[in-house]
Amino acid sequence: MSERQTTRLKIRRGSAEGPARHQVFDFEFEDGQSVLDALRWIRGNRDATLAVRYSCINANACKECVMRIDGRTGYACTTPLKPGVMVLDPLPNKRLIRDLVTDTLPPDERL
């Protein structure tokens, strides 16, 4: 089995109002685990109010978990964790709803 390593995730919290604030969570992982694995663990074990879109979890089918990861746009479900610090932000070019969730819906699918 692979060695366990630790990543420190700095996650942008809050809505569009108010100053940008990054909250730090440490997560112990094994090789192959994804950023989404860490986010789901944080929701289940540290802070259930963390807002992050995901649906298919594994299949890279729903494309919901798109965000900025260390300054680059990517999917949390297909981005491997790495040791050290990783910074997660919502997409900059979409309206921010809260935390990592932006308005990524097609315009004709909104309420």
Binding site: R43, N45, S55, A59, I97
Partner: protein, 572 residues
């Protein structure tokens, strides 16, 4: 702010069945509202399916729907609702050809007249299963239906809208109350007819092949509205679900087609073949049935001979790379992206919750016992009995989706009096009030943790192998969770508050979990996907369906006869 929407046909859940229902209802002239608590056409089970679709189109070799029906009935171990299964098999060719016409891209055989290719899957008497290469059946089906749905002005799609309760007035389903995830606000929807297309319930289990939204919402919504559920104890476990190493971008049941094409070897934690000790010599071929493989892996792990993550090893190390590539092309590269080289390493597999045979009790129009309420897709109970035949899940999404949409359109038109859709705002008020009351509570624990707890409990005690002791322990645990639910935290901002959304999900999950465990405890025999270690044999007296309805003090269980067709109807 109160939102209010009106539609003739409301469809809850926008996977394959929901989208097909929307198209059929719109074709019949109804206005349609198609909702999903995630994103329309991108959530649910259909998009994750990488496997095959069973249909008697006879392209590969001569076939007839009655052969497909005979295999479906045999697979269902005496509990198949035959009128529903007949609809499934008889209508499947029309749906598969319609999808072909819409450009889904079924794999074809250019060498022999470019006919649609059909594979031979276990349980079928001939080559019957169509697919889209490579492992792309679900994504291609979802894309095709999404594109088709967009062509109808009469279909309004709304994502991020989670239905929390159905609205019943004078005994009739007249719409729903929902939570808008972005704002946390309540939404009232008046509908002439409502279709439950929320899929199955495999998200109740720790190890599953589900997306995040497969917690059985529709079963709980319908149960609270007075509908009957059947066969809830029959949860199909897929024996060789992917366990380790971490694999992303792939369906966890993807090793099944690998085994069809390449064989492969199952090994225990000590590196030894073991299926022969459970009655099946594999000899490099994929011949072990799902129930035997599940049992054998389960028993090896129990005996301390599991793989490191608690399953079995599956090895293709003896297969040449050229053969792997010929069979699976670009999939081999996707595996390499995940650090998996099948020529050098075995992977770990274990039984995972994959499908649910039970569901809403419906008639041949897919109407439930609640007027105005219909079911589609995996949410329908009965067509697959105690064990689903390989390939029937996408088939039922298409066939039952289309039929439910059409039936709902007829019901909505018949129900409309002077006003096309009645105003239900008064009847919806109690549900809206309940929705508001759940906001902002600071309590003990939260439902996000509660869901993890429930999944562990269900995996341990209501999994593929069950005992009286385990099921009673599960029911106690479920009751304890249900008791804690009203005190769990829902605080934090209203915008996209998943802790609160999880609260509504767990509210449904505990009801559905209780239905499964109650039915499983009562069925003192082993049949299909329901295996009791304390009652190992199949009992003829149990060739009956168990029905669950809501009662004043929880749920009430009763038995009813399985619906059979006359022999003449099976063959004509």
């Amino acid at each position: 702010m109160a939102h209010y929407l009106e539609t003739e046909v409301l469809i809850i859940g926008a996977g394959g069945a929901g989208m097909y229902a929307a198209i059929a209802a719109a074709e019949a002239g109804s206005s349609v509202l198609l909702l999903d608590k995630s994103v329309v056409g991108r959530s649910g089970a259909t998009i994750m399916a990488q496997m095959t679709v069973a249909v008697a189109i006879g392209e590969e070799e001569p076939d007839h729907w009655r052969h497909h029906l005979a295999d479906t009935i045999a697979s269902g171990r005496g509990l198949v609702d035959e009128p529903l299964a007949k609809i499934l098999c008889q209508s499947a060719p029309d749906r598969i050809r319609q999808m072909d016409g819409w450009g889904v891209g079924w794999a074809r055989s250019p060498g022999s007249g470019n006919h649609i290719t059909q594979a031979h899957a276990p349980g079928h008497d001939r080559k019957r299963c169509v697919y889209v290469d490579f492992l792309n059946t679900g994504p291609a089906s979802s894309r095709t239906l999404r594109n088709k749905v967009r062509q109808y002005d009469g279909i309004r799609r709304i994502s991020d809208l989670m239905v929390t309760d159905l609205v019943i007035r004078d005994g009739r389903a007249l719409g729903a109350v929902a939570m808008h995830l972005e704002s946390g606000e309540g939404v009232t929807i008046t509908a002439g007819a409502t279709v439950i297309a929320t899929g199955g319930l495999t998200g109740l289990y720790q190890r599953n092949s589900a997306s995040a939204n497969m917690g059985g919402d529709g079963f709980a919504l319908a149960l609270r509205a007075g509908a009957a559920l059947i066969d809830m104890e029959f949860v199909q476990f897929f024996p060789i679900g992917h366990l380790a190493p971490r694999l992303i971008g792939m369906d966890p049941i993807m090793w099944d087609p690998f085994r069809y094409k390449l064989g492969g070897v199952l090994l225990n934690g000590e590196g030894e073949e073991f299926t022969q000790n459970y009655g099946t010599v594999e000899d490099g071929k994929y011949v072990v049935t799902r129930d035997t493989a599940t049992y054998a892996i389960f028993k090896e792990v129990e005996a301390g001979r599991g793989s490191p993550h608690g399953g079995a090893w599956l090895s293709f190390e003896h297969i040449a790379e050229a053969d792997l590539r010929a069979a699976f092309g670009p999939v081999i590269d996707r595996l390499a992206d995940n650090g998996i080289d099948l020529t050098k390493m075995a992977i770990e597999v274990s039984p995972i919750a994959h499908y649910h045979m039970g569901g809403l009790r419906v008639d041949e129009t897919l109407a439930t016992n609640v007027p105005g309420l219909f079911a589609a897709g995996e949410a329908v109970g009965g067509a697959n009995g105690a064990n689903r035949l390989s390939g029937n899940a996408i088939t039922e999404a298409f066939v039952f989706g289309e039929l439910a949409g059409r039936s709902a359109a007829v019901a909505s038109a018949a129900a409309s009096g002077p006003e096309p859709v009645p105003d239900i705002r008064a009847a919806a008020q109690a549900h809206l009030n309940f929705l508001s009351e759940t906001a902002g509570r600071t309590g003990e624990g939260n439902a996000t943790e509660g869901i993890i707890e429930l999944q562990a409990l269900m995996q341990r005690d209501v999994g593929p192998f069950r005992t009286k002791e385990g099921l009673e322990r599960a029911l106690d645990g479920i009751a304890a969770l249900a008791g804690r639910l009203p005190h769990m935290s829902t605080d934090g901002p209203l915008a996209f508050n998943q802790q609160r959304a999880d609260w509504f999900a767990l509210r449904n999950m505990v009801e559905v979990a209780r239905a499964i465990a109650t039915a499983a405890l009562a069925r003192e025999e082993s049949r299909g996907a329901h295996q009791r270690e304390d009652f190992p044999g199949l009992e003829a007296a149990w060739s009956r369906t168990q029905v669950i309805r809501r009662s004043d003090d929880g749920i009430a269980l009763s038995c009813s006869e399985v619906r059979h067709l006359a022999p003449s109807e099976l063959t004509s």
